[in-house]
Symmetry: C2
Subunit: 441 residues, 2 copies
């Protein structure tokens, strides 16, 4: 009899594969870091000798969610400033707080806190951009959460580097140090076209290509950014990036609120990818990205929460709900951004948007075992007509019961096994006290 | 020493009174059905002999949330049909499902389920419109949740009445039967201007005025409704209602998406009230109500979830988050609909929108004791800079720990005391099986 390590058994298994296969009383078998089989519970129980069974009766079992854009350590600034004009928010709150407080310790503990929150709400992979990303990588590894980590690069000094040369060097060191890690990948992340020189944007791409790692950048978050770049460059920044040879299938752009038809076509033609951040775009009043057009053009569009200073949580269930509803309201069309579309953006397509579709995003034999279960026996999840609808429109992060990442049980029956949450919470509270004091200076 | 029944002690007390008084280590003393005192925990502990103490250290203590517009029993249709054009959704799913399935039993169990969900997410009062509202009232009473119940009235037959005369008679019976009840109030609720004759609208108002109960109606949910009514009436339905003498300080209107400046002025002049339902309006693509203008005009605007077929949950925390973000995105202005504004809409102003501001909506001596506590010791609520921000942008219904309604502990440490949730869930699941079968006919 074949042996497997874990059998998640008895739930309704949503594979999120290309056929959207759904198995009524299903099971997922895990061997090592990977999915060994997906099928009917009875069949898999008969086929395998199982070390550890997770009884998922009454649950939905599905791939873990992919949070395509975060600044994880900004949990330390959660709710520090809200309801402000973007410039006021950035210049008078976020930038001063960061300049005075961001150091490796804050990034490490802030990321641990983010990981606890993400595990609890079913996120198994996140793509991060921040400062001192070695700490982000270290914390994610400790938490057991899959992470694509990228040091934010620009042409002015950061708390971590004085020059962009140092920033690139730091990124290259990250790439080398984490090469081959089963959980942590590195992404080269110039901040944006308005904060990076042409030279830095191009050298970043060269670095990413040299090591075969992805490249990601904030792009066209607002119309003001678009207008500014067009007057500076004489063209849309998407054209500019295309001309510079930077666009390509390893490129992911965050936000893309102010993309026009031509930008979308260029992105599609080059196989670029996008991460949509509806809650952050709404809270900062950045605008509404043309996501239905992006999807129609065949672009892989994922979903992200952005940082906790502009959301203010990392709950991908809430993000899905918001993504589905925002576009309906914006276009006065209730048929756009269906539950099915949005759920894919948070799983299979979200993985593709990060270049990870070969490993994660669906429950299929051979893929990494990133699996979550959602407990349905709750008033707000009763009754059940359609699982996809429930997950997008009714469920919340807190409904997640079990989380497996890379074959390891990270949360079981709502108990996180990898982290000491009390200690992390205390530590971040004390960091926040310092942040508060620093803002009074 | 004075005696009180309950002391909720040690949390940060947000009174939501006119001054937005916040007490760091505060307490709320409850005697019978009412709040006896609000103050510093030490002071109240010294002053009162207490029968039952709820230790709220590490919690926010605040007034229970007011859900201004529900169709509670529609929990039975939660997620039955999504992502459809309004007409398709109504004509091919909701109306047939209702015609074939709505009977007293469905309303009773559906409302019990709604009450469980509302208690769990911190709602202590809801204003309901549905069919067989005697069952809604009975279920709410059993659950211990404050309810303003109204039988939906129109000029065509409902599962409960053949003629509008019978509907009015049923409503009058409700008013008489529930008169003086501490938890249940009755509201006269003609469905809308496009489903009710002038005569029914006017007779409903006459009935409400005769008994001194409130009057509530769906109004201008979409631009199509507005256009249709203007071609029928030759004027905005708000003008029409004003001319008919129906507008006045006991009138609450739901949705009001398609109100113009003049409608808003008329509503303000007559002291009418509004309930805003952002999630439902977004999901059905009904449009975005001009809430900032309504507030600027001095209108009491509450928040509501609408029914579970168009939301798909009853979580007022999510509704607050959506209300704050939707208008920012819609107007490209991050300063509108601040956390402070939205939190008031869900509490003090929400109570005013239902004509209940003298009894509920804030923690003040003499008001009914409708109190909730929110447990802050969670990753997604760490750290804490501002309570109002946390409640609107970071918290979720599931963070509610304790619920007191009318002086009775309805949920303690996340255990609902008044309801058998397992039984309710099973019952609604079996009702939903019948609904599914009926739709295949």
């Amino acid at each position: 009899m074949e042996q497997v390590d874990i059998l998640v058994s008895g739930g309704t298994v949503l594979t999120l594969d290309e056929k959207d296969t759904c198995i009524g009383c299903g099971a997922v078998a895990v061997r090592g870091d990977s999915i060994a089989a997906v099928g009917a519970a009875e069949e898999l129980k008969a086929r395998f000798s199982v070390r550890k069974t997770i009884d998922a009766a009454g649950c939905i079992v599905m791939p873990g969610l992919v949070n395509g854009h975060t600044h994880a350590a900004m949990t330390c600034f959660r709710g520090m400033a809200d309801d402000l004009k973007l410039e006021d928010w950035l210049q008078n709150y976020i930038f001063p707080a960061e300049a005075r407080n961001v150091r490796p310790e804050l990034v490490y503990w802030g990321t641990l806190l983010a990981c606890a929150e993400m595990i609890r709400s079913g996120t198994t992979t996140f793509c991060d951009m921040y400062i001192f990303e070695e700490e982000t990588a270290r914390a994610s590894k400790e938490a057991g959460v899959r992470c694509l980590a990228g040091e934010v690069l620009f042409d002015f000094p950061s708390p971590n580097f004085k020059t962009s040369d140092e920033g690139l060097k730091y990124t290259e060191d990250l790439i080398r140090r984490w090469a081959g890690d089963p959980l942590i990948g590195i992404v080269v992340e110039p901040h944006a076209c308005y904060t990076c020189s042409d030279n830095l944007l191009a050298r970043s791409k060269e670095l990413a290509d040299r090591y075969g790692v992805p490249y990601a950048v904030h792009l066209l978050e607002t119309k003001a950014e678009r207008d500014g770049l067009i007057s500076k460059l004489g063209k849309s920044p998407v054209h500019f990036l295309a001309e510079k040879g930077i666009l390509g299938p390893s490129v992911t752009a965050f936000h893309c609120v102010a993309m026009d038809e031509e930008d979308i076509r260029l992105f599609a033609d080059h196989g670029c990818r996008i991460v949509h951040n509806p809650e952050s775009n709404m809270k900062l009043a950045s605008g509404v990205a043309p996501v239905p057009e992006m999807l129609a053009a065949g672009i892989a569009v994922g979903l992200g929460t952005d940082g906790c200073a502009s959301n203010n949580n990392l709950d991908m269930f809430q993000e899905m709900d918001m993504a589905a509803k925002l576009h309906k309201a914006w276009r006065l069309d209730p048929t756009v951004m269906s539950a099915d579309t949005v759920l894919k953006m948070a799983t299979r397509m979200g993985a593709a948007a990060l270049g990870m579709a070969d490993r994660i995003g669906s429950l299929e034999p051979g893929k990494r075992a990133d699996i979550i279960s959602i407990d349905l026996k709750k008033p707000h999840l009763t009754p059940l007509y359609r699982e996809y609808s429930h997950l997008v429109y009714a469920a919340k992060g807190d409904d997640v019961r079990d989380v497996i990442i890379n074959g390891r049980i990270v949360m079981e029956n709502k108990q996180i096994r990898t982290l000491d949450e009390d200690k992390i919470i205390s530590k971040v509270i004390s960091i926040a006290e310092e942040v508060k004091a620093s803002l009074k200076q």
